[in-house]
């Protein structure tokens, strides 16, 4: 029972790191980026390939995945994404679906369609018991890494100069630009960091979620749920939504495996029906 809760929390933390970049693009640029999962997949593949082909140790692969995907994001933002911000949502959806299709088939072509496995280092394998609760070592590793990341993110957003510039741009890009902030540069940096986080999440999650070329399609709906349910105005919203989703999904699949992903979808529709702006949206933050 508690093991299940623990697994759910680990899963939720992972989802949060994966989806937080999406929350930012959506809240900041009002851009529906269905291709977010493609960045996560890129991070996963960077890790897998660096480990198996080049023999890079696992811990070194994680920052590598972050930097690699962040660079990819920094490359794509000014060339492709920036033109899309002012377009209608239909265009954005079509555009990012197109990117997803290209990423899925591109990876299929280069690496092959089989599931990729990650060789964890010895000290992360297995589990230990506290009282009667079995706790997977790798799961606790995920929780620690994601927890540290979350606190760091919160600190950057709330305390640093860049954080307040970012929040200013979220609230009103035009006024922020008028005050002399380089909104484009802030967007670029944020997009890159968000993509990098997705890449890191993909690298961490490759063992738990499984990694194959259809990854962006399989988990697209999960990321979107986190953002839609959590709202985009705060960090705590998506975090709580991700934890809720993680626990509900793990518990649902354990207790009533016949229902499959049913519970998650139904939960999402019910929540959105009651609170269309998300569970934790700020009142009157009319976006």
């Amino acid at each position: 029972m508690l093991t299940l809760l623990f697994d759910g929390i680990a899963y939720g933390m992972l989802l949060f790191v994966l989806a937080v970049g999406l929350a930012v693009t959506l809240g900041l640029m009002n851009f529906i980026n269905l291709a977010h999962g493609a960045f996560a997949m890129a991070g996963g593949y960077i890790t897998v390939l660096a480990m198996s082909r080049l023999g890079v140790p696992f811990l070194l692969c994680l920052p590598l995945a972050f930097v690699g995907t962040a660079l990819l994001g920094a490359l794509l933002e000014p060339t492709l994404y920036r033109r899309m911000y002012a377009r209608p949502h239909l265009d954005q959806v079509l555009f990012s679906i197109g990117l997803v299709f290209m990423a899925v088939t591109g990876v299929d072509y280069v690496v092959g369609s089989m599931q990729q496995n990650i060789q964890l280092p010895e000290w992360l394998k297995g589990r230990f018991d506290i009282e009667w609760v079995g706790i997977g070592k790798y799961r606790s590793f995920i929780i620690i890494v994601c927890g540290v990341l979350t606190i760091a993110l919160q600190w950057v957003l709330a305390k640093t100069r860049f954080g307040s510039q970012l929040r200013a741009s979220v609230d009103d890009p035009r006024v922020a630009g008028g005050l002399g902030l380089n909104v484009n540069r802030i967007f670029l940096l944020t997009f890159a960091v968000g993509s990098g986080l997705a890449g890191l999440g993909g690298a961490l999650g490759a063992e738990v979620l499984g990694l194959d070329p259809t990854f962006p399609l399989k988990f697209m709906i999960y990321f979107l749920i986190v953002v839609a349910v959590g709202g985009t105005t705060t960090l705590t919203g998506p975090l709580l939504a991700a934890l809720l989703l993680g626990i509900a999904d793990v518990a649902g699949k354990y207790y009533v495996p016949k229902l499959g992903s049913f519970i998650v979808y139904t939960l999402m529709i019910v929540i959105l029906l009651i609170r269309p702006q998300g569970l934790f949206a700020r009142a009157g933050g009319g976006k």
């Binding site: 959506l26 529906i32 492709l80 033109r83 899309m84 377009r87 949502h89 239909l90 265009d91 959806v93 079509l94 555009f95 679906i97 197109g98 990117l99 997803v100 299709f101 290209m102 990423a103 899925v104 088939t105 591109g106 299929d108 072509y109 399609l217 709906i221 979107l224 749920i225 953002v227 839609a228 016949k258 229902l259 499959g260 992903s261 049913f262 979808y265 139904t266 999402m268 529709i269 959105l272 029906l273 269309p276 702006q277 976006k287």
Partner: protein, 321 residues
């Protein structure tokens, strides 16, 4: 007659190219008997895109889960033929009725919220139906698909043949009926009020249109037509599988509609023709990686601007800004 009603009438009159298009559709049955199977697929896709045009092009509802109703129609028709009676026309009516009813039911969910919420809800509904069809394997055959569907002859006379000529004639008839129906609908006051609420929902509400009821109505009609398309697929192929609920089907129909252009009903037909021909061409060349080219096409289409790409004469014109 006032100027307003005159201009409305001018919009609703039949143009020469509409007659030409209908004529081409009919002639294609006579002249291209060996391609009837491909033509049948195109017509089904066109009908599906037409239904999406009603809600996307006219009412402005972005949906990522329109395959839900396509799938419902498909399974309803296949199950009806298998369990109740094999007559295709009765099956069609039943499938359309079920899809319409579900459309009206689900439309409640898309009334509130932003574009994102609507995307999520439509996507979620399609995913739930997919799971449902997957798990109820005693009824739907699960992942193996629903097999052993035997269709009776059309009107009690015309058997569905292997070459697909009967099938194409049947599909064509349904397509034209739905097209005429949709045309009548969008040129009625109801159709104009839909465009009003697409352009500005708040203003439409404040001049006294009941926005929600209209959305429910058009969503139900669109769902019914999508159900008809799904039923056609199941009836002409004698098979229904989980594939009808898949995400890529919803994405595909959106692409088809966007290729042809939204908001004038015929976009679906042109889009379906272009899309299927492209598909055939590229698949013959590189069958496995067709999705890559589809994606590239989408990206380029949006970057160039979807209005512009379809109107080559505007490519080199001076930019007005």
């Amino acid at each position: 007659m006032s100027a307003v009603s005159q201009s409305l009438r001018a919009h609703a009159t039949w143009r020469w190219w509409e007659f030409a298009l209908l004529a081409v559709l009919l002639v294609s049955w006579l002249l291209l008997p060996s391609h009837a199977l491909l033509l049948n697929e195109i017509a089904i896709l066109a009908l599906f895109a037409l239904s999406l045009d009603l809600i996307l092009g006219y009412a402005g509802v972005v949906s990522l889960g329109h395959a839900a109703f396509f799938g419902i129609g498909s399974y309803a028709a296949a199950l009806f033929a298998k369990l109740v009676m094999p007559d295709p026309l009765v099956g069609m009516v039943v499938a359309v009725a079920i899809a319409t009813a579900l459309g009206a039911l689900f439309s409640v969910l898309i009334l509130r919220g932003t574009d994102l919420t609507r995307l999520m809800v439509t996507l979620g509904i399609a995913s739930i139906l997919y799971e449902l069809a997957n798990k109820l394997d005693w009824l739907t055959g699960g992942a193996d698909g629903l097999q052993g569907v035997v269709m009776g002859p059309l009107l009690g006379q015309f058997e569905f043949d292997l070459g697909g000529r009967t099938a194409y004639a049947y599909t064509l008839a349904v397509l034209i009926v739905c097209l005429l129906l949709a045309r009548r609908l969008v040129h009625s006051p109801f159709g104009y009020s839909l465009q009003a609420l697409r352009d500005n929902r708040l203003r439409a509400g404040s001049i006294g249109l009941s926005v929600n009821l209209r959305l429910v109505a058009v969503y139900a009609v669109a769902a019914g037509i999508a159900g008809a398309a799904g039923a056609l697929l199941a009836q002409t192929s004698g098979f229904s599988s989980l594939d009808v609920f898949e995400f890529h089907r919803s994405a595909e129909v959106m692409l088809v509609l966007v290729i042809g252009g939204t908001g004038y009903l015929y976009g679906g037909i042109f889009g379906a023709i272009v899309f299927k021909l492209l598909h055939d061409l590229i698949s013959a060349w590189t069958p496995q990686y067709w999705n890559f080219w589809l994606g590239l096409f989408l990206v380029v289409l949006v970057l160039v601007g979807r209005e512009k790409l379809m109107r080559p004469w505007t490519w080199f014109g001076a930019k007005k800004s």
